[in-house]
Symmetry: C7
Subunit: 99 residues, 7 copies
């Protein structure tokens, strides 16, 4: 049975979105020529939330299913079976990408 | 459909303003000769606001449409399609430029 | 009589789970070929909980028996008899692994 | 139309005061021989005030028009047209110079 | 008259426990062959307790007579007569060793 | 007209006291042979007081006219006309020297 | 008239106790052979007490006349006439030495 990760506290589990570089025939896709160079991913799961210095609960600002804009650095890589996932902290997420 | 970034917490999304260096014919524009050397930009979008150490909500001090004076360093670059945008924290903004 | 460690404050005592590399005959097990590369372990015991900066008690988020996803670095090694155990802080645990 | 900077939070906008070194003929002015070697400036504009760690508003201690004693280092240079201005934080100002 | 040390605040006074390496005749004791490699000691005396950042008293979690598991590094050595003792902070103790 | 410095917040303005090394004739003064080697000074002016992290006003512990014992390092030098003065923070002062 | 130092805030003034190395004739005193190697001293004067981060007064834990166990490093040396004294912070004192 596959394993599932429940992130703790203010952590989120993210699967990165990699922009499609080339078409099947190797031709540079027009869309990708001007493809956005952003480090983004899909939120698979989130923790219940973090705590302030005095223990006060702090709500999450991203939720499962969001497409998020990630910082250039940071994140902990976790390989579950074939899947490469990453764990970030809620407050490290730069923004939410909406169509 | 174009993507839109919703900044999180106390972050702002900024498009930099680059002072016009030369006229079409390449002549140094008088205005630009004494052009201000400031790192400034237009606020495209802002997050809802940050939190103090004990979780208390902290209001933003800049809003969408403001022309802002940015610090020399810092800011995260984000390229969406052809547009080069930057993400800053509200408290890093030095001031608001008004005519 | 064997010694037992009661972790203090927000610490947890963990026995690491090492993925089986090879079968008895030395053949690379199919399961392990795509075995998850995670740093995980079983929680043997936990402390009562930590304290916020102002002394407020902070509850634990992992409990005895949990299988936990551990950070790449950190943890204090403790050898009790033949057993190699590790001590982590509650807040360093990335997530809980469930089937 | 000239641009104006509205400093944000606890920042102040300062125009530095440079002690006159030489008379028109290049003769060392007596007054300047023993001129004070202080890093000082005039406050052009101030922000509304900063915030404590828990968000409590913190009042400013310098105001527009004050002549202030500045620290040896620090300050962000901002060139608006021909004018060289500097941005400091309220709490970095050492003192107010009065005649 | 022998001197006694009363630890202050959240400090504890510890006498280290060194695992017996060899028998009288120099034969490696079986018990020690698989002796636990832990840095442990007996608590001789404790301070009254520490204070949180805002001055709130923080109770101790170890008491006189406890056998404690100590971190690999840290501790201040104090030699009183022939006795080598160590001073640690309450929160540095990893756990309590019970039979 | 001479300039006066009003220190801000928890700062104090100090004129250093330099122990007399030699008599007029260059003979080592007996008193100075065993002169105290302390970094001390006279308080010329003080700020109104500092603020705690949450903005709470913090009263000063030194006042104008006190002779104070200063730390070995630190202090900002300010030259006003011929006078060499120093600015320290209230909490950096080690003690008050009384006859 | 001799000068007296009134320590400020949570500081204490200490005269170090140096263990007697040799008898008058230079013979190693038996007591000193096993002399404790501790960095200790007598408290000459104390400040009124320190303040927590939010300004709350923090009481002292050592008083004038105590014999105190000092950390290996730290302390500011102050020479008053022939006397070599040291200034420490209350919280740096490891313990109180009692007979």
């Amino acid at each position: 049975m596959a394993k599932k990760i429940l992130p703790l506290l203010d952590r989120i589990l993210v699967e990165k979105i990699v922009a499609p570089k080339k078409s099947v025939g190797g031709v540079l896709l027009p869309e990708s020529a001007s493809a956005s160079k952003v480090n983004s991913g899909k939120v698979i799961a989130t923790g219940p939330g973090g705590r302030a210095k005095d223990g006060t609960p702090i709500p999450m600002t991203v939720k499962e299913g969001d497409t998020v804009l990630l910082p250039e650095f940071g994140g902990t890589e976790v390989k579950i079976g074939e899947k490469e996932l990453f764990i970030y902290r809620n407050d490290d997420v730069l923004g939410i990408l909406v169509e």
